[in-house]
Symmetry: C2
Subunit: 223 residues, 2 copies
């Protein structure tokens, strides 16, 4: 299937084995789920077990935990960005686009992005900056459109949406069961209802941009 135009260089065969690729994919997927559920400090061996691979495979693919976190965050951001872009493209109603994006992001467990905030990996990696800019642009576009159309209250920002989205979609710790998944979309829907115009109350504080999040989230906890 992968008919990549590799005119074999004289050096070595650049083809990784098929099962190796499959395992790597399984690991990233599993890690994303477990990061959301238990945080990015979840034991390596647990990830390996749930992914159905040996722990050595995990260590071979991601010698540093930061590598794995990086990969997970990157893949998730890409998926969420695509969600935002497609929602903007395919929905005429600006607020419906926002709803669609939000529910989609919830399904993707966008809460997994919170390891971005605990300094356990390189926030300034080029890949990450690039992907982040795409994401910001896409979501900011959704917000702007809805606000310009007078459907979304103007006292909220992208940061508000993303943080609330993360919070509402996080599973309760310990309970591995999906019992709360049924609530996630209910509560998200209620939150979105609150975002719609006309505004029903005055909000404390000020609208949060993604810039605000990055800046404020780096305070050392104890020092």
């Amino acid at each position: 299937m992968t008919s990549t135009a590799d005119t074999a260089p004289a050096r070595r065969v650049p083809r990784p084995r098929a099962d190796a690729l499959r395992n790597r994919e399984r690991i990233v997927t599993t890690a994303r789920e477990m990061f959301v559920e238990f945080g990015s400090q979840v034991p390596y061996d647990e990830i390996a077990r749930r992914a159905g691979v040996g722990n050595a495979t995990l260590y071979r693919n991601f010698p540093e935990r930061a590598d794995l976190v990086h990969e997970v965050v990157l893949s998730l951001m890409a998926r969420v960005t695509e969600l935002a872009e497609r929602a903007a493209e395919e929905e005429d109603d600006t607020f419906a686009a926002l709803r669609r994006f939000s529910h989609g992001a919830a399904d993707e467990r966008v809460g997994a992005l919170c390891p971005m905030l605990d300094g356990a990996f390189d926030k300034d990696h080029p890949d990450l900056i690039a992907e982040r800019e795409r994401l910001e642009e896409a979501v900011q576009g959704l917000v702007d459109r809805a606000q310009r159309a007078g459907r979304l209250r103007t006292d909220v920002g992208v940061g508000d949406l993303m943080v609330a989205l993360s919070q509402l979609t996080r599973p309760l710790p310990g309970s591995g069961c999906g019992a709360f998944d049924q609530f996630v979309h209910r509560h998200l829907q209620l939150f979105l209802d609150g975002l719609e115009t006309p505004a029903r109350s005055e909000l404390p504080g000020k609208a949060a941009t993604l810039e605000d999040l990055r800046r404020d989230s780096c305070a050392p906890p104890t020092s």
Copy 2:
């Protein structure tokens, strides 16, 4: 052992030392904060350090971790219950009462109740059941009143409110900083706006009672 009945009129020393009581109080308060921030598995020594007491004092007061969790949950539930009762009593506007309670509960970090769900302590303790009934009654009263007054949409239940409240007020893992505190009340306010009548959208699923929560949240994750 100590002389029992002949010298002292009271058989037991009726007075624990003043600083002992003070320390115990400090411990519970600190533990509540740290449970919210890091979960109920936070190291004992850390709690002691932040509370400004020696670790031995902590172990002397709460030999089992379950004892400490029990105490924290109980005190938190009591405070939240009181919030609900006072809100119902002092606010004429039914929806304003709901708002006041919700923001108060957010300040109390009601998200700390989620350790209730990881089986790390006795859910069936008499004290706990009693306090839980008081809490349910109080909050249910707020909800009923607002719904009967036509201010609160009727497709939501107490469970929806409590779960969303917990989710929105949970601090992000790792980031010990309170940078997100400023967002909590904003997002809660937005959520509450979504709860008000008239309903702006149709919710998926069905209204959640507290009964639903208790039943669904006890599935063993992996064992």
